[in-house]
Assembly symmetry: C2
Homo-oligomer: 700 residues x 2
């Protein structure tokens, strides 16, 4: 059901409306009454005749007309029966302000589960429980426990924490930031952040979606919906709770490097969500996105009346891959016509310390015509002759002429001396920052978002694979009560998904081994084949670089002896003899199951790069080709793959293909819990990649 | 000369005092007059009789008494003769506000050089030119072009940019931050940041030194003085101009990785200077350092009335290595006595959303007695019943009781609803932050500074070395018009400083080579010995792993042929044959000359770690043992040296020793321009390190 009636009800019942001031049921009634709400209001209170001049009803069933939205503020234990009443009255939307649910322990969780079931049964949308409610400044209606209605605006704010919601609304009011809708999610028994995102996609009153989240409800849907919404309007999220916690016992490399924080990072990237590190960043980004057009490229021009702030801004540009382009010859000539000789006519443009408002304005008027300019930041320090207010007026005039072509930010530094100017800018939707770094960082976010918007959306590639083969392998493993696949089983899975593996044979005796050697040629690799041994190196179960028959025989016997002494109980199936891949880079591709988002794919260079430097990238399956390519580019050691120190470039295309095949595999088989291809040998460009070793663990 | 008379003059002359309002010479006179300055004021203006009721003098020579400080505001070209007059009057301190010097080009630079020479000649201390002047709120005197006297306080602020200085003072005023002294450095013809630091060390009115710097004047003195001052009071610096610029043509690895930004980073670390990334950070850090005691350890307790901000703070703690310790059993019990059952009694302590001021206060009173607590942050969101102001009052009461034992910060989030509380906190020197991240980051800075203060200061170790030998090598190189040392010369330098090198011989023929092999044993390394070849690998001039006589002979001939074909002009002295070091880690130690700070020492792991990951650490020579150890610990790949993947730990002590010896070498010989020991082979713990190859380039 759409949330339309929820956000824009024609009638509201407050179940638990209270006579006593200071009671939540009283505040909520007042909130609704004072919000300019035009529809019918039904206070429900069996013990009161009227509150604030509005007649109280004994029950919601007594309401003379339809009720679109019920706000429930009675003690937790009575909520379920109130919901039953609502259902009888055919109410389709309810806000449960009441606490006493999941947040209080096992009993509350049970109550919440029942609430969930009722919501499904009655096909009723429920916000909360344990929330502040919702307010909508465009409808308008304030169905929340938050004392004051926010100022009207174009930024929607969703908060998983009620307290933080209040703080943010309070802050926004002071900073004159308008809010279109505020939603306090509470325990999210039904309505989640994703539901609200989905609704806001087509909500014209909202230009920017912002949220404070602590966890996400349905990871895959969160990504899918957000990916769609962010192609239309930006979503800016502060996500807290990034500590490493969750010391799950994991045996794979991928598992030990994964974790909720990596999963969120990957999910936000794939969904095009802008992540703000702090609430201050949330404000900075969302106001800029709401009030200024997106820069079409990464070219920034700085105008300043002092060197210092210009240098500061330049420093941050370099860190953030923002260019300070040279200006067109014509621009420079025009600037020279009126700026003093001592001025700097090149980016950053220094209009000098004695610049009055007109010098700033004239310079701006010239610069906005330059084709090399994607964005402008005006820096100002309050010097003896500086006209902060007049300069602000000039900037606003130029910005108005611009017609939304180029974003303009300002950084008026100082206190009292610049206050009037800053206020004027704020009132006219020019984002001002107190430090140059804030302006540049916000611009970076907008530049990145623009790149996200123009990025072509391609469908997820599908490879022609043999799903049946994999299914039967998994089935037979489970039948044998094994969840770890053996060497050969794992190889068969890769073969079914057309991932190259080294030529190999499992030899039970030295004769078979030698026959294989004759066919494939030396050098060879020997490995123990046993379903009981996960880390072959630890038991001396691997020999590499076997160069001739003598070494083959010696190595064969040594491995058998090693394993027998270190793992006497192990079921030894033989020695797997493989061709040895030469001239290659060792990489790793892994899969780990995130409880929130499902299968996460990891990529990195092998060996110490993954173990010590933890230089790996994650994405959540299923992924697109561009995701695969980006995750490869993301690792710091990418230069090694691109051919550092005169080496040939590695076959990055083949890595992309294997990542996509693995993505398809884990999407086809959600029962794959962990998987490591380690090493994945990557040969020179055009020569492909070969899975050297693979481990797969499936669910029960 | 001390700067005492400069900062606290008994008499001030304003050379260029002007009648017309709006003129700098007028503003400055007013600044002095309105600042509460108690001494004599002499306006110097040959064309005016009096200004603002003070009699003007035709010349400073006419002043009836001594003049301690002259403020010069006449056009640049007249400044030198004014300085001559000052000298005649025996003035020992002058502020040159006037512009028209170095900043305007070659002619101005010449003028500035003459000003410099006059300062030396007359033994006169000069601030500027091209500066805003100085103000001292404790003396008091405002000898600056900055319109308003800052509020009295304990933070000194030094700015290399006048404009930024004004902006910061303006901001400080609004934020109610008091300033003890403000110094605008200008072009720094004489008085530098270091001079001011040195003066402020013993200035009791100053508790914290802050500065905005773009470059430092005398790098080594800057480090030496700052190192001393920071052991007494903190120095917080915003240093801008960190872009990679300066594409110096450098041939060594170290040179290509070094650069001004790395040098400043190293210098600040070694000097104990706190680096603030932005002006906002500068304020945050300096006020906290000024108003709150230092935490004695890294244990932080959080108190909050909502989960969200607590999680946010916890996230930043983890990133910054700040502990959230468990509270003592007794503390928890006492908290349980009065907090509601639903509260969280463990760190972070949640006093719940309905907490009134008394709940916060009681909790605080209990917590400050807990031995595990080094610092406290009080988080507050404005909920329905929250008493921001009363809570603030309670916090201040507890803080006063504390007697400077534990720092307390607050983070009252929101706008109007918390404003009274925040104002009360600010007035009572409790630093409040609008986001939890700000509070935690500031605390980290204080924790690190405390660790710097208690770190034992040890003398720089001196090794018994053969300086004469090195000198004669350098001399003979220069005589031969070579600035790059040959293979053997470089080895001799290392031997003179007792750095181990592999056993080696330079063989002109295969016979000598075989004799050496018999003595030392295989495997061996072969390298071309030629002063004309820097990068031996590039010309096929190296063979490693020579295992027997046959390989020795083949390798010997191959190298000669390679070099002859690729560098026919090269002067080949023979083949250097070395023992091959086995079971080792390859590292690199390098030296690069920074124009500001002198010799910089680099350390990192060799090969791709240095080339691709740029995983290196820098310090400026001379360095102490603790510096050497810290720089080794700083690299990300340190785990490889400590024995990752079951390998034996490497001999880190021997690296420390070699770094110290190199530090001594470049301090003894400042004419060493570049030096790379690459690779430095580090063997297992206790087995030492051996310089595999070394390159040294000396100055003309």
């Amino acid at each position: 059901m759409s949330l339309e009636k929820f956000f824009c009800p024609d009638s509201v019942a407050i179940i638990g409306a209270a006579r006593d001031e200071g009671k939540v049921g009283h505040t909520i009634l007042e909130s609704v009454m004072n919000s300019g709400f035009k529809g019918s209001i039904y206070p429900i209170n069996p013990k009161a005749d009227e509150i604030h001049g509005i007649k109280c009803l004994k029950s919601i069933l007594d309401a003379p007309g339809d009720v679109d939205l019920a706000i429930i503020v009675i003690p937790g234990q009575f909520v379920l029966s109130a919901i039953d009443d609502c259902a009888k009255k055919n109410v389709k939307a309810a806000i449960v302000i009441s606490a006493g649910f999941k947040e209080t322990g096992a009993e509350g969780a049970k109550l919440e589960q029942e609430l969930f079931e009722k919501a499904k049964k009655y096909n009723m949308r429920i916000l909360g429980p344990n929330c502040l409610g919702m307010s909508n400044t465009t409808c308008p209606v304030n169905a929340s426990f938050s004392p004051e209605m926010p100022d009207d605006g174009v930024i929607a704010f969703i908060s998983q924490s009620g307290a933080l919601g209040t703080a943010v609304l309070d802050w926004a009011k002071l900073a004159k930031i308008g809010i279109s809708k505020f939603v306090s999610l509470g325990n999210k028994v039904d309505i989640s952040e994703t539901d609200v995102f989905e609704y806001l996609e087509d909500d014209d009153s909202c230009k920017v979606i912002t949220a404070y989240l602590e966890a996400v409800s349905d990871g895959q849907r969160f990504i899918d919906v957000s990916k769609k919404v962010t192609k239309k309007k930006p979503i800016v999220v502060v996500k807290s709770g990034n500590t490493s916690a969750g010391a799950k016992a994991v045996s794979s490399h991928t598992g030990s490097l994964a974790g909720s924080s990596k999963a969120y990072e990957a999910a936000f990237k794939q969904a095009g969500i802008i992540r703000a590190k702090t609430i201050r960043n949330l404000f900075d980004y969302s106001t800029a996105l709401a009030y200024q057009p997106l820069p079409k490229g990464r070219n920034l021009v700085l105008i300043t009346n002092a060197g210092g702030p210009g240098i500061m801004a330049t420093d941050v540009c370099e860190e953030n891959n923002i260019n300070l382009p040279a200006l067109e010859k014509e621009t420079v000539e025009k600037l020279k016509e009126f700026l003093p000789a001592a001025a700097n006519f090149h980016n950053p443009i220094d209009v000098l310390g004695d610049a009055l408002a007109d010098r700033y304005k004239k310079a701006l008027e010239i610069i906005i015509k330059d084709k090399n300019v994607d964005a402008i930041i005006v820096l100002l320090t309050p010097q003896a002759m500086t006209q902060a207010y007049e300069t602000a007026v000039g900037i606003v005039e130029v910005a108005n002429k611009l017609n939304g072509e180029i974003p303009i930010f300002t950084c008026f530094m100082g206190g009292k001396a610049v206050k009037d100017g800053v206020d004027y800018l704020t009132d006219h939707k020019i984002p001002n920052f107190d430090i140059p770094e804030g302006a540049v960082n916000t611009l970076r976010v907008m530049m990145n978002y623009h790149e996200w918007l123009v990025k072509k959306d391609v469908k997820i590639k599908e490879f022609d694979v043999d799903k049946k083969a994999v299914k039967s392998i998994f089935d037979s493993c489970r039948k044998a009560k094994r969840l770890e696949l053996g060497e050969n089983e794992s190889r068969l899975v890769l073969e079914a998904y057309k991932i190259r593996i080294p030529q190999a044979v499992t030899a039970k005796d030295i004769k078979t081994a030698k026959e294989f050697a004759e066919k494939v040629g030396y050098p060879l690799v020997l490995k123990i084949d046993s379903p009981d041994i996960l880390h072959k190196t630890d038991v001396g179960g691997i020999k590499v670089g076997i160069k001739n028959d003598a070494e083959l025989e010696a190595g064969f016997n040594e491995i058998i002896n090693n394993v027998k002494s270190k793992k006497p109980q192990a079921d030894i199936r033989g020695i797997s003899i493989q061709e040895m891949i030469q001239d290659k880079q060792e990489t790793i591709i892994g899969i780990n199951k995130d409880p929130q988002f499902g299968p996460m794919i990891m990529f990195g260079l092998g060996g110490i790069y993954v173990e010590i430097l933890k230089d790996v990238a994650f994405r959540i399956a299923p992924i697109k080709e561009s995701d695969a390519r980006e995750m490869i580019e993301e690792i710091k050691t990418i230069k090694l793959l691109k051919g550092a120190r005169g080496a040939k470039p590695s076959d990055i295309n083949s890595i992309v293909e294997i990542i996509l095949k693995i993505s398809q595999l884990v999407t086809d088989f959600p029962d794959i819990m962990e998987m490591d291809i380690n090493p994945l040998f990557v040969k020179a460009e055009g020569s492909g990649s070969i899975a050297g070793d693979v481990r797969i663990r499936i669910a029960k």
